[in-house]
Amino acid sequence: MDILNQFGINPILLAAQVVNFLILLFILKKFLYGPILKLLNERKKRIEDSLKNAEEIERKLLLTEEEKEKILAKTALEAQKLMDETKKEIEIMKEEGKAQAEQLASQIIKKGEETARAEMERSRQELMSHMAEIVGLGIERVTGKAFRGKGQKEVIEKEVKNLS
């Protein structure tokens, strides 16, 4: 093969270069591709995990937000209910108070009336006894006789009663 000779092809050189290449292949595989590809894969996995985590967190946040809204709505509803109830109770209490007050007032009035009536009775009695005395004195003056003793007062009082 003249052409191969012209280009300086030498089987030993070819073999040497093949060996060189295989050595280089081995070295690079061991020290370059292996570690770096492993690192790249690990990094990829880590990023994927982080993204997944972020998604999870976002989902949870959304859920929490919803829960919060729900709880708030529920609380507002309960508060409204409580307020309504309180209002109703106050209304009832007002009514009751009014009724009680009215009752109390009427009681007081009645009592007052009674007291007044008793007072009147007492004053009348007193007046009567006074009158009897006065009448007795008058009779004494007119008749000049003492109209005394037990029977005297009774008679006068009877008379006065008849008068009235």
Partner: protein, 242 residues
Amino acid sequence: MEHGIVLKPEVLGYFKNLPITNTLLVSWVAMIILTITSILATLKLKAVPSKLQNFWEMIIEFAYQTVEDLAGSKRAKVFFPIVMTFFLFIITANWMGLLPGFGTITFNHKPLLRSINSDLNMTLSLALISATLTHIFAIKYLGFANYLKRWFSLTLFPVFIFVGFLEIISEITKIVSLSFRLFGNIFAGEVVLSTVSSIFAFVIPLPFYFLEIIVGFVQAAVFMMLTLVFMVILSEKHSSEH
């Protein structure tokens, strides 16, 4: 111009039967550079990457994504180290060849350093590795019987026999095209650079250097992608028998 451009790499000396050529020497240097940078980068791997680790991570992540898109995640694990090593070795070799000192420093009146891929030995060996591994993977993923079916059709219809024959030739062509594409591009680049530099050594070679930087990257990428595509195609179930 005295230092003529020769196709053969210069032999600097012999180690027993092994001729130490300047390209072989440079390929050892390239290997050492790659080894040191990768060990430095991964010695203390951190979750938050620092400069060198970040640099490698960026490259490897992008390349792995590309391989995965083409080959699927299962085969990508196997294919990736091989095609990536092709890429890294070739691009390091190409860009190293642009450094000052290449071709100018001499040892026993021979250039001590020479761009690796301007030696057909180097590119041909890379192409041979690429082709061999491609076929090994094809057998691994398809099984030996299915692998043979691709080349030797069981139907006696002559067209299929002829197609199988063509496929075999195309496999040989792949090796030739892979090796000569890389060799041709880099060797031509070397020739252009040394010619331009010998005309006027200041400023004028700059655009050519810039061009060579791009060519160095493109050739590495092309070699990597072609190897990857060949591997993917050959290790895929043949769809003509549906």
